[in-house]
Structures are given as structure tokens and as C-alpha cells.
Point group: C2
Chain length 348, copies 2
């Protein structure tokens, strides 16, 4: 189908890197088809046309707004992001990003190497005016009603306090769109909740956030607070955020593994597990990354969702949903406005 067809009219357009991730292109194309159908949006699948076309033929796509954007190269998971992005100008990730920078798409989704996607988006989209650093925001399950959002989880191994403040501001805007909540609770991750604790970095960021009246700042939070749903936006540098995110993933995996081992180790365990299967499935669903659809690169001039490398069609579909929500909420304009006001304010 061509983009000049009626099916594309007035639709939100999301560009999707069809070649990124462990299960590309199959699961990516599958998820994109589901998203086009369920959300009534337009999807641009970026990759070698014959390969994408072959995958598309596995699905019913009549009447769906799906187009193919050619890209001849692919960046592998083990390539150094920086060099690969600069060298491979026609790689699927670079072309996907270019769809957004040119205005041909309202947002993008890429799975696979987070580093490559972040580098491509930073280079191609550029940063929003007055934003010091872009950051990766990632949702994490909690026992509360909504997930918590960690920002940054790896784009910046080292940060200063003003950058952390901005992460809190951008995170707050994104969280509001994602979960339709007003004034999400923003906390700074620290080794204790008392004001006097921690490094100079977090204590300085504390002062900056406290002075920011548009933030619902709740102070320092600890590693045990966000899984319990005591905070919505968890601000941290990319080093600590990455360790916290991966520790959470690792511990969740460990406990599920132990549970499986212990249930399978005895007949009562096996029988009980079979009877209670529905309960286990619901826990699995509540703790599955796929429901959140991936991480957001915030601070760049365009909507950029980076899905998990192991994304299946459901995760991709949800990642596209996040991109659609962000595009429709005009998140980029909101961030631009916040930081243009901030600058005006500090100049007065």
C-alpha cells in the first residue's frame, strides 16, 4: 500500500526498525501489524524491502496503513554503536530515526542494541533546546497500581545535579502521559532517605528539586521503595539506574526460577502449581517487561522508544502504543515548553 492512499490519512505515523532485536524481522513485523490494526495507526517498517515484504505476507494486512521504507544495512548487537551509526548511513536504525527527524513519522520504535538506538537518535534528532543530556527512562513493575519509572538507566554513566533535575522534570512529564496521573511523585535514588545522606551529587540535586515548584518532589528514596510503589519517577544517574534496573530483572528472574525448581521438585508442588496456574500466569504478566513496551529516550527532538532486545510481537505492539501515546500527547512540545520557561525564568 502506498502512503498516498486513504488508509494513511490523519493517522499517527510510527516508524519501526524491522531489523532490530533478537527476533527480527519476524516478531517486529508481527507486532507492527497488530499495532496498525488495534490502534488504527500508520506504521512504516524500515528494512530491506524484500525481507520485510516476505514477513508481511504472513499476515492479513488489507486496509491497514503499513508501508515499507527501504534500508539496505543492519547494525549487529555486537557492533560498537558510535562507529557503526556513523559508518552505516543506510542502516535500518539510522533510516528509522531519519523518518522522525524529517517529519515523515511522528515517532519511532527500535528493538535490539539500546546503545545503537540511543546514539542514532541523539545524532539524527538532536537535543531539545536547553536540555543538557538525553536520558533513558524505563518502567519497572511495582506492587502498586502503576509501574515506577527509572530515569536514567544507562545513557549517562556520570551526571551532574542540574542534569538530574532535568531528568526529574522530563520524567514527570512522560510519566503523566504514560499513566494519566497528575503530579507523579518524583524521588532521587539514594542509600538512605534522610536529607543528610549520600553523595554530594544527590544532595545538590535534592536542593535543586526542592526549589522546583512544578515538581511533586518527595525527597530521597531507597532501592526498596520503588518496588513497593512508594514513588513514581525515580531519578538517578545512568550508572546507578542501570544497576538497579538489571538487579530488579535479575532478582525477579531468580525468584521465578527458584519457584519453578521447588514446585517441580515434588508431587504436591507439581499438582498445586497446575491447579493455581492462573495465579502464576497473572504474576508472570504483572512482572513481564513486555507489557511496558520498552524504554523511552527522552530529551531528543522526537519520540523514540527503545524496546527490549528480546521483544516478541506483544512487546513491540506495546512499544508502538507508547510511541503513539507520546506523539499524540505532544510530549516533545511539552518538554520544549518546560525548558523554554525554565530558561526565561532563570534569566529574569
Amino acid at each position: 500500500m502506498s502512503e498516498t492512499d486513504g488508509a494513511f490519512k490523519n493517522k499517527t505515523v510510527i516508524a519501526v526498525d524491522a531489523m532490530g532485536g533478537d527476533f527480527a524481522p519476524r516478531e517486529i513485523v508481527y507486532g507492527a501489524v497488530l499495532a496498525a490494526r488495534d490502534f488504527g495507526i500508520a506504521v512504516q517498517l524500515v528494512g530491506p524491502p524484500e525481507i520485510v515484504q516476505q514477513e508481511l505476507q504472513r499476515h492479513k494486512t488489507d486496509g491497514l496503513a503499513i508501508s515499507i521504507i527501504p534500508a539496505s544495512e543492519v547494525i549487529a548487537m555486537d557492533e560498537k554503536p558510535g562507529r557503526a551509526i556513523v559508518k552505516k548511513k543506510d542502516s535500518s536504525i539510522v533510516v528509522t530515526t531519519r523518518q522522525v527527524s524529517s517529519g515523515a513519522a511522528d515517532g519511532m520504535v527500535a528493538a535490539g542494541s539500546t546503545g545503537a538506538a540511543a546514539v542514532a537518535a541523539q545524532l539524527e534528532l538532536g537535543r531539545i533546546a536547553n536540555v543538557f543530556r538525553s536520558a533513558i527512562a524505563c518502567s519497572i513493575p511495582t506492587s502498586g497500581d502503576n509501574p515506577a519509572m527509572l530515569i536514567d538507566v544507562g545513557a549517562n554513566a556520570e551526571c551532574d545535579a542540574r542534569q538530574l533535575l532535568q531528568f526529574g522534570q522530563m520524567g514527570s512529564l512522560v510519566y503523566t502521559v504514560l499513566h494519566h496521573t497528575q503530579r507523579p511523585r518524583v524521588g532521587i535514588l539514594n542509600l538512605g532517605s534522610e536529607e543528610t545522606k549520600g553523595t554530594e551529587l544527590v544532595r545538590e540535586a535534592y536542593k535543586l528539586m526542592q526549589a522546583q515548584s512544578d515538581l511533586n518532589f518527595i525527597g530521597f528514596v531507597e532501592g526498596r521503595d520503588f518496588p513497593m510503589g512508594k514513588v513514581d519517577v525515580v531519578v538517578t544517574d545512568g550508572f546507578v539506574g542501570n544497576v538497579a534496573l538489571k538487579t530488579a530483572e535479575g532478582i525477579a528472574k531468580m525468584i521465578k526460577l527458584m519457584l519453578k525448581q521447588e514446585l517441580l521438585a515434588s508431587w504436591p508442588g507439581k499438582i498445586g502449581a497446575a491447579i493455581a496456574k492462573g495465579s502464576f500466569d497473572r504474576v508472570e504478566k504483572r512482572t513481564n517487561y513486555a507489557q511496558y513496551g520498552g524504554a523511552l529516550l527522552v530529551g531528543v527532538k522526537g519520540v523514540c522508544v527503545i524496546a527490549h532486545g528480546g521483544s516478541t510481537h506483544t512487546a513491540i505492539k506495546n512499544a508502538i502504543r507508547v510511541a503513539v501515546d507520546m506523539a499524540n500527547a505532544k510530549i516533545i512540545e511539552k518538554i520544549e515548553k518546560t525548558f523554554s520557561l525554565a530558561t526565561a525564568g532563570s534569566a529574569s
Copy 2:
């Protein structure tokens, strides 16, 4: 019973702060009685004699090597550790520590405020020669055969690379005693496993550890590696270590809570859970902090185990076991030897 009695002869002596922790003195005294009986050791219970005596009367202590060491003051959880330790010279935690520094006890156990215990031990015991900083080492469950040990989990919010190297060396010695393993795998916690990733701090520590032939250094590890049992000793600064430890605790608690919620939400869930109770109990046991008996303050001139604030008698008993193991293995002499050799080596 007096310490001059035969029951005390040739026994390892552990001083226990009877007044520290959420369930003090009851659970502390209970755990100490169990330890004296099961491990055949001598226990010194430190606190106001009449209170400790009252608790002791709840148990059969005939023939057990249990004595009471008077201490008139107690430091509360919410007191500022530094000031309280200096002010309250006759507090149970300070007197407990003094039992070790005077040589009257071979090791100590304290529950409650980690900060207060660490400050008291640092002040009273002093650091081992050539050790730059003491650190808190804490065991954490894994899906492997042995727990992993995080070092440091909060004594030093900011560290330099030489301190991290020493944490690895001390952690390796302690892990060997704790788990009877030779050459435990030592890794540095980072946001990626590639040598080029992370902050200058961890990259510099990487080089130092790689050059240390007595360490079984396996390179950088990520937050998801230690729950999977891929590393034994996880070296990190106290800020990152604290966040990782508390995130692990929080996520474990969250998943167990979700599981409980979902199992109780339906009849099949309730029935399945009842049948498979044994399996759930085993998972609970494998992920329960109480089995590890608390954290170790390493680098000070004495065996110092800091138990969880919420320690019950089992946790206290296990904490005493760790102190006994460390004392019997002469861990302090081992650390002293390692660093006296290290100094001699670097001087040559």
C-alpha cells in the same frame, strides 16, 4: 554463670548487643541461647543486667556458657550514629565493641542501626594496618549453590579505585571462609560487561584488579549477573551497593506479595497454594535474609557482624555462627597478612 566456670574454657567467645534491633531484647537473647547451645560457644550478652536476666529466665541455660556484660545505655534507631556513639560511652553497642577490642571476646554481633554499629566498631576497633577503608559485606541469595556477596553496601558512599581493589581482596578472603570455596570469582559491578564501559572509577579498579594475581578476577558484572550466580564477590562503592541490595530486597518482597495476592484472589489459587505449601516454604527459606545472618564489617581489627534490624532468633543465631566462623578462621590475621604482604610488595 561466671566466666571463670569450666563451661567457658577454650570456647570461642562472641559478644552480642542484647539491646539492638526491632525485636530486642527478646529475640536477641533467644538467638544467643540457641547459638550457645548448638555451636558450643560462649556468649556475652551486653545490656542492662536486670533486663537481660529477665529474658534469660525464659530459657533453659543450664551448662551453657552465657554471661551478662553490663551496659546502662541504649542507642535508638533514629539517633544520629556518630554523635550517639561519642556521647553514650556506656551504650550496649559501644560496650559490645569494647569486648572485642579488649580481647575479652573473639567477635561481636549487633542488630539494629547499621550506621551506629559501623561507627562504634570503626572507632573502638580501628582499621587493620594498610586498609584504607572498612566496608560492609552482605550476602544475597542467588539461584546458584552459594549466595553472592556485595561489598560495600553502604559504609562508603564514595570510593576510589584502590579502595575498591581492597574490597575485592577482603571480600575474597571472607567469602572463602563463609562458603569453604577456593578462589571465589570476584567481579566489579558496572552498567555493562565490556572493558570499555562505565565510569573512570570502575575502569581504573578493573586495571588494578587485573594486575592482582591472587584474585580470581572475572571482570565487570551487571546487576542481572549476581542473582543468577555468575559471580561470588561483587565489588562496588557503598552507594551503588546499597541501591543494588535494597532493590534486590524490594523486588523479592514485591514478587512474593504479588504471588500472595494472586493466589488468594481465586479458589484454584488458594487450593493450589495449600497443596504446594512445602515448595513455597522452600522458596521463602532460600530467599530469606535470616539464613545468612547479617552483614560483616570488614577492614576493622576485630570480627564484627551486623544483623538486620528485623532479626528474629534464627537470624541472630546465624549471625553468631558467622562471627564464630570468622573468628575460628582467624580472618583478621589473614587480612592483616594480605595487606602487609601487599605493602612489602609495592615497596620492593
